[in-house]
C-alpha cells in the first residue's frame, strides 16, 4: 500500500507537530508513508475566495506530487474535501491522474476507519500516566469533514447516519472523556478568508463555539481540521484560557 502524506500548507508552516503526529500515528498503525517534498497547497484559499480559475497551477503541482499513490491521506477534512471536489488536470493525462486522486484522497480519521478498519489503537494509548481524572475532550466537528466528508452524523438530518469516525477513535484512547456540547455541530466561523473579510462575525462565531466547550469544562478542544482549531486557539489565547487545543492526531498517537 503506497500512501502519500498530504500536509496542508499552513500545517506545514505553523503546526509541524500535527504533521509529525499524523505521520507517526500512521506508522504506528503499520503504514509506510511517503511525504512528497514538492507539495504546497490544495488551492482552496483561492477557490473559496472566488478565484478557482487561478488555482490551476496548484492543481498541477498537486497532481505532480500525488499521482500514482494508492492513497493520499491528510490531517484536514477541509483540504481533503477540496481535493475530492475540485482537483482537475489541464490535459487528458493529468486529468486522469486528478480523477484517480479524487477517488483516493482521505482525511486521516476517515482513512483509519474506512481503509485501515482499525478497531483498537495498537499500543494502549493513555493521555498521561499520572492523570488522576479523565481528560475532558470537546470534539469540534469541522463542517467540511462532517457535512462534506460525512465523518460524523449531522444534526439536521433524520435517520441513521452511522457513527462519528473521529469520536469513535477518541473513545479508544484510555483516559479520554468525550464531552457533549450544547450545539454539537455548529460552525466555528473560520471559513478560510471569511475569518478576515467577515472579521466581526467570524470572531463572534469562534467565541460562541469556544464558550460552549468552556461551559462543559473541557481540558482540550480537538478536531480534524487545524484551521478551525487555529481560529479557536487564537480566541482562547486572547482570553488567556488554559484550555489546550490539539489536532486529533496528537491525541491518537502514542
Amino acid at each position: 500500500m503506497k500512501i502519500g502524506l498530504f500536509i496542508p500548507c499552513y500545517v506545514d508552516q505553523f503546526y509541524p507537530q500535527v504533521a509529525k503526529a499524523t505521520l507517526t500515528l500512521l506508522e504506528q498503525l503499520g503504514c509506510t508513508v511517503d511525504y512528497p517534498l514538492n507539495q504546497t497547497c490544495c488551492g482552496q484559499p483561492m477557490a473559496n475566495s472566488g478565484y478557482a480559475h487561478l488555482a490551476g497551477g496548484c492543481d498541477d503541482n498537486f497532481i505532480r506530487n500525488f499521482a500514482g499513490y494508492d492513497y493520499v491521506v491528510s490531517p484536514s477534512g477541509s483540504c481533503t474535501l477540496h481535493i475530492k471536489q475540485h482537483l482537475h488536470g489541464h490535459n487528458a493525462a493529468t486529468d486522469n491522474d486528478a480523477s484517480a486522486i479524487r477517488g483516493r484522497v482521505y482525511e486521516l480519521t476517515e482513512f483509519i476507519t474506512d481503509v485501515l478498519k482499525v478497531e483498537s489503537l495498537p499500543a494502549k494509548n493513555q493521555v498521561h500516566p499520572h492523570r488522576v481524572r479523565p481528560l475532558r475532550v470537546g470534539l469540534h466537528q469541522s463542517c467540511h469533514g462532517q457535512r462534506g466528508l460525512h465523518l460524523s452524523p449531522m444534526s439536521e438530518l433524520v435517520g441513521n447516519q452511522g457513527v462519528s469516525k473521529p469520536a469513535r477513535l477518541l473513545k479508544m484512547v484510555n483516559g479520554v472523556e468525550l464531552v457533549d456540547l450544547d450545539r454539537r455541530d455548529e460552525c466555528c466561523g473560520f471559513g478560510g478568508t471569511f475569518c478576515v473579510t467577515e472579521e466581526a462575525i467570524s470572531a463572534k462565531m469562534g467565541k460562541d463555539r469556544v464558550a460552549d466547550h468552556l461551559r462543559h469544562n473541557v481540558d482540550v478542544i480537538t478536531g480534524v481540521d487545524v484551521s478551525c482549531l487555529m481560529h479557536m486557539q487564537g480566541i482562547l489565547r486572547r482570553q488567556e484560557s488554559k484550555v489546550e487545543v490539539k489536532h486529533i492526531s496528537e491525541l491518537l498517537v502514542n
Binding site: 472566488g50 439536521e156 438530518l157 478576515v196 486572547r238
Partner: protein
Amino acid sequence: MSNLSHAEAAAVFNKDEARVDWHDETLWFVRSKRDRAAQSIPEWEGLREAASQIKNHVLSNMHDLLTQFEQKAIANGIMVHWAADAAEHNAIIRQILADNKVNQLVKSKSMLTEECHLNEYLKEHGVDVIDSDLGERIVQMRGEAPSHIVLPAIHLKRGDVGDTFHKHLGTDAGATDPQYLTEAARQHLRDTFLTRKVALTGVNFAIAETGGFVVCTNEGNADMGVHLADVHIACMGFEKVIPRAEHLGVFLRLLARSATGQPITTFSSHFHKPRKGQQMHLVIVDNGRSRQLGRADFRNSLKCIRCAACFNTCPVYRRSGGHSYHTAIAGPIGSILAPNLDMRQNVDLPFASTLCGSCSNVCPVKIDIHEQLYKWRQVLMQEGHGPTAKTLAMKTMASVLESPRLYRMAGKVGRGVLRFAPVVAENGLNPWYTHREMPEPPAESFRDWYINNKQ
C-alpha cells in the same frame, strides 16, 4: 436599504454583543423546533427527496405547467396577468386599484411584493397600503424592511414593539406583554379588514392541474383580508407552480415543520374561484427568474418554498441579522438569488458564509445552497466584480502557492505572511488580530524537519 456591505453591517450589528446573543438564541430556538418536528417524521428524508424531484420536474416543464395553469385559472374565473419585471408588476396592481377607484390596500405577507418594492411604489402614487401580518405591520410602522421572510420582526425585542405600538396604536407606555400588544394589533387590523375593498396576498403554491392556488398563514390575515374584500389580487413568482394537488401533500408536510416546527400552518387556504361578486386577479411575475432558470448552476434556487429554515440554521445570519443582507430575501437563499438580480450590488452576499453546509441540510427541497454560494463566488470574481487589490493579491498568492520554490521561500521569510497575504495587502492591517492571537511560528516547517529526521 443600507449601502453598507454585509461585513460592514454585520460589524455594526455586533457592537451590541448581548443583543447578538439574544438574536442568535431566538433563532436557534426556531431551528431546534424545526429539528424536533423533522425528527418526528421517520420518512423526513424521503419527503425532502420527493419534494426536490417534484420541483426539478417543475423547472424542466415550466412552460407547459404555466400555460396549463393559466388556462385552468381563467376557466375558473380568475383574471391572469403577466409581469416581466418589478415595474410591470407594480403597474398592474396600481391599474387594478385605479380600475376599481380604490386607493387603499390591505396586504398579507408576500416576499415577491417586497422584492418588487410595491409598498414604496404605491405610496408614491397615493395608495395607502397596510400590511396585515403582525410582524410586517410592526416593521412597516417603524419604516423598516422585514429582516426575515417568515418572522419579519425577529430582530426586534418586545420593548421595541411596545414603543412602536405606543406611538402608532396608543397602547400603554412601557407595555411589552406580547398578548396585550397582539390584541391591540388585532383590534386595529380588524377595522382595516372590514373597510378595505382590495386585498393582496402572496401565493405559496399554484396548482397547474386545477388552476387554483394555496396561501398559508398562521394568523388568518390573508383570509380575513380577501374574504372581506371585493377584489383579491394574488401575486406569484412563476416558479410557484406545481403539477397536481396531490403534490401538496408533500409540500405542506414539509413547509411549516421546516419553517417554525409546526405540523402545518393554521390556515392552508386553497383558492379556485372568486366568491360571488368578487374579482380575483393573479399576477405571474418573472423579474429575473427566467434568466436564473437558464443558469444551470443556479436554476435550482428557484425550487425554494420560502420556509426560511436556511436562515434559522445559518450561524452567520443568526449573528448578523437580516438587514445586513441589504436585499428583500436575506439569509443563505437570498445570497444565491440576489446576484441574479444585480451582480455588482450583491457581490458581497455569496461571501457572507463560511460554506458550513447546514443550509443545504435543512432545505426541504434540497437546494445545494452552500455549493451555489461557492459557484457564485467564482462567477462574480471571473466577471470582474472583485476589488482590484483582492484580485492582485490572489494572483500573487496563487503564483507563490503553485511554485514549491517560492512557497518554501515565503515560508522562510515570515510564516505569518503566507496565509493572510491577500488581506494584509488590502488594508495594511491584519483583522485577524482584532479578536484573536496568531499561532507562534515554529522554528522549522514540517518539511524541514522531515528532511532532517526522516530521510
